[in-house]
Assembly symmetry: C2
Homo-oligomer: 662 residues x 2
Amino acid sequence: MWTFDDVPAARIQRVVGVTIDRPWLDHLRRSAVRLTTGCSAAVVSRRGLALTNQHCVLACAQGVSGAAGDALAEGFAADTLAAERRCPGMQAEVLVGVIDVSGPVFAAGAGKAGAAFVAAREEALSSAEARVCRGDGRLRCQVIGFFAGGQFKVYEFRRYDDVRLVFAPEFGVAFFGGDPDNFTFPRFDLDFAFLRLYDAGAPARTPTHLAWSARPPAAGEAVFMAGNPAASERGLSVSQLEALRDVELPLIGAERAELRGRLIAFSEASPENRRIAAAALFEAENAFKVVRQRAAALADPAFMAARRRDEAALKASLAADPRLAAELGDPWTDLEALREVQADQFIVWRQLENAAGGGSRLYAWARGLVRAAYERTRPSPTRLPEFADSRLPLLEKTLLDDTPAPAPLERLYLEFWLSKTREWLGADAPATAIMLGGQSPEALAARLGASALGDPARRRALWAGGVAAIEASDDPMIAYVRRTDPVSRAARRLWEDRVTGPSERAAEGILRARIAARPGEIYPDATFSPRLSWGVVAGVDASGGTGGAFTTLGGLYARATGAEPYRLPPRWLAARDRLDPATVLDFSTTNDIVGGNSGSPVVDGKGEIIGAAFDGNLASIVGDFAYDGARDRAIAVSTAAIGEALAKTYRRPGLLKELEER
Amino acid sequence: MWTFDDVPAARIQRVVGVTIDRPWLDHLRRSAVRLTTGCSAAVVSRRGLALTNQHCVLACAQGVSGAAGDALAEGFAADTLAAERRCPGMQAEVLVGVIDVSGPVFAAGAGKAGAAFVAAREEALSSAEARVCRGDGRLRCQVIGFFAGGQFKVYEFRRYDDVRLVFAPEFGVAFFGGDPDNFTFPRFDLDFAFLRLYDAGAPARTPTHLAWSARPPAAGEAVFMAGNPAASERGLSVSQLEALRDVELPLIGAERAELRGRLIAFSEASPENRRIAAAALFEAENAFKVVRQRAAALADPAFMAARRRDEAALKASLAADPRLAAELGDPWTDLEALREVQADQFIVWRQLENAAGGGSRLYAWARGLVRAAYERTRPSPTRLPEFADSRLPLLEKTLLDDTPAPAPLERLYLEFWLSKTREWLGADAPATAIMLGGQSPEALAARLGASALGDPARRRALWAGGVAAIEASDDPMIAYVRRTDPVSRAARRLWEDRVTGPSERAAEGILRARIAARPGEIYPDATFSPRLSWGVVAGVDASGGTGGAFTTLGGLYARATGAEPYRLPPRWLAARDRLDPATVLDFSTTNDIVGGNSGSPVVDGKGEIIGAAFDGNLASIVGDFAYDGARDRAIAVSTAAIGEALAKTYRRPGLLKELEER
């Protein structure tokens, strides 16, 4: 997960024998795409065509379903440019420049603490963003903190706010094996999709793009992934890991498990319910598996003992450098001191602020609109950071795009969130009284579900109308957020003041100690920003060999039982005899990637694309805390299989031709 | 949780000033009732009337619902004996004799280990039962192991296999406050119900019964509860607690949370779904809260540190007695050695044997019928213990009574169980292949749900027909169990051989060390057998005073918001002006009780009944591991409130008259 401006080229040359130079890196960086909906992609044609995963376009495919059929279940293919369908809420971004702004940011925070520290820094950050982008609408500038706040850089992205769905295979082949096979290898998923970036209503001109290679990966060959790992927590102290294990994961795990149960039973009530809940269920099951695996790692005495040893070694190495030790103090003890308030406030912060709404789009829209109206009356640097001027274009798109919010699903989310809020905060807690206002979660969810915010015109009017429109609105969800937002904001302030602020300062100290102990070997934690990962194609067999690094189309058919989730779509059953069973379908590599990397291009030493990453094995989930090259594997779908499928299953010569043009 | 033959009368006299003599104890024991469905009760009239909790008759009330209305939601009242409705599957038992058989049981197991040890003991136990009951159908004999296998006694019960529902209030007042208020105090639940024991089709003659007192409890007064605490684990070693925390509770917690979610969404699909899932949802939410609270305690460093200190003190005290130490060896190290196999096999044993079927009655019936057919071809002492001759009458009743098994709920349970089996064992595990037979959980559940075993006549025919009938049956559930039972039995054998057997022997050693360290102060772990608990009426306020020990009917109305779960039934809204608001509704006491005690009579120093226990506070859940008198509270509904409700809300003079007759 190296940043593109700090790649260990010498080490890569030494270990895998590939020479990475600046042009190679620049070409890959300018072909790699960040999707604001939480995924990665890569431009693969001169006309803005981008390869990503089918699971990265779930919401989009669900949204374009309708009279034309179920694009999720049956797949989607645009025969012409006109048939390409816009993905609401999705923006594509390509990194074009990086400017270090650590100096001014540190200066702004110096001598401050708690909320004042957070506010001063936020002000410095949003000023830096505005300075770099200078109001150019084609750009998005974002300050990204690296090394747990040890470094701040403005990332300048070319933004494409019009992204359209070109092709997606059936969910049944993209997510073949379903939840049981998720996070495992061998794996048999054709998890790819094509999007197209548009510019002023026409396909974007993208002379810089990755060359499409249809050759299969070779065991042991060096592979590189360029994507946007969302979040890792490699620097967590032992006390923070214990808080995760004892406080946060048990709650989140129980919450995801119950939500999953609700979504499953909801889905079974009707085919329509199944359709509208498919993406939500995928996400809930995925999240549950992640939480469960993380919890299992933290419950493993050997894992924790290793983390304790690492921490002790780091403390010893810091103690051996008296000048640095005097400067950094004892950040581990500072973190331990947060345990109590963290245990006490975590669930309040989560229910009232961080995960408020429980997934409801109506709630998220209403909160965005209400807060934006009030925040925009203040100077940009003094606003809540997500409402700074530099961030308004994406926010506006997120709030105003015509994204569907199916009423029964909204009600499910709202009921769930409100009932968990009452359960976890306590029926008699003052915050519960405010959030529920004396109503039952079911009755309140029904009332809020009657909101008219599903209509984008209403949202646009409220956005344009500002505070006056918000205060005049009698929409039930707007009224609800108006009434409850003060307690949500208070929960956030308390959390930032007493947990986030102190944690960030302590983490900065620990990180500096780590860098001092192992200079040049550490890359920053993931921050959903472009990174380069290098590794080799390899399985995980115990002998350390490379056997088991591939699956094939033949294996896919062998695994198909005809019963969910091992049921192949009709098109695939029909195409069986036409396909070459030896075609490599998925492959496993040693790359260090985490969530957010989904859709990352896999390129070979020549910089040609040979696959798209879509998952990791179970062990890799624990990679959030510590990467282990012997055990953690990334999983990718091969361009060879995509090409074979486009040619023989889907018969899309036009698409193939566009890919093969150089 | 003292056994009736070993009550510390001198200590009770010293601490609470009440004299407990043999006649007092015998009278209470012979009035106390065990309900085989998992609850306690007390005989309160000379005609077999028994007081228990409404939540102990949920399944019964659900079963008698139909054309006459929803007995769960609207309550149930029989105006005449003829209107009293039999509760299928429920047997009432009164303890009439106790015989110590430790000698022969120990002799049988001497020098054996693993499965051989378990089998030899089981044989000795079932022989002892048969000897005492001598085939008298009015009796049930059951060997109960105390002190983790340190003591075995035959308990001789008078059994009543015909138990009928007489009266139950509305679920909305019995479980007022619902899941949010469950396990809390102050509490406002009228959680009572009346059953009647029948003998040869007529009300049982019960000259021995508790005198009904309508007076409210007094703060600080001594109170006694006679009931059947189901299971406690006070003797668990630290390594066993860690295994619970790290392996078992995370899995069970996730499972209960997801089941709860499925049941909630299922319930919301229709009023009929809500009715048939009400008892199941109550149980799932209750179980989830228990698991969550236990997990929280085990995640609390202070709690675990206290357990470690206790264990160290016990080891030190054992070491100081070289003779005993030489005899007992090091049971703690023996238990630690089980960690790996336990972690490995727990989920296999749970999914294939211990919790197989996931709650499906069809599965439970089929397994009982299939196993009974084969087991009954062998001599009683060599069978699986639950099929010994002495246990067949209750088994037969459980299998053959006309208990409803609503098809949609069956399907939900089966789908859930099968999908978790695949998820937790792994899609490619050999056991998964056997349990699913290549089908999806959904398809298999639908197929098994088509079983005709819901018809008791079919079950009776299979019971009577033995192996021939089982082997000839083409019922899908019978065929399924025939096919899968060998792997279930293998999972059970492995677990008993490598976990249960060794654990029991180690626990016996630890228990003997504990008794040696604190002679006369230890009562055995709960075993769902009659026990006496003593305590005082007390709240839990920080000052240690008795304030806050009561709630009143007035408080119930004050808490009613009109929204679920704080919505009072119409009868209660109508009766408000007639009721005395000062009537004590619920009260809290220091008694040490656990699940299974629900429905236990609360008697005063004179032996008169003043309430029925129905819950504990949140802290008391952790009482499974260690009771803390400063923190743990039992919660009971008062006879004063029951009387007031019968007189003024329900207007049942006949029932009141029967209670007041002496």
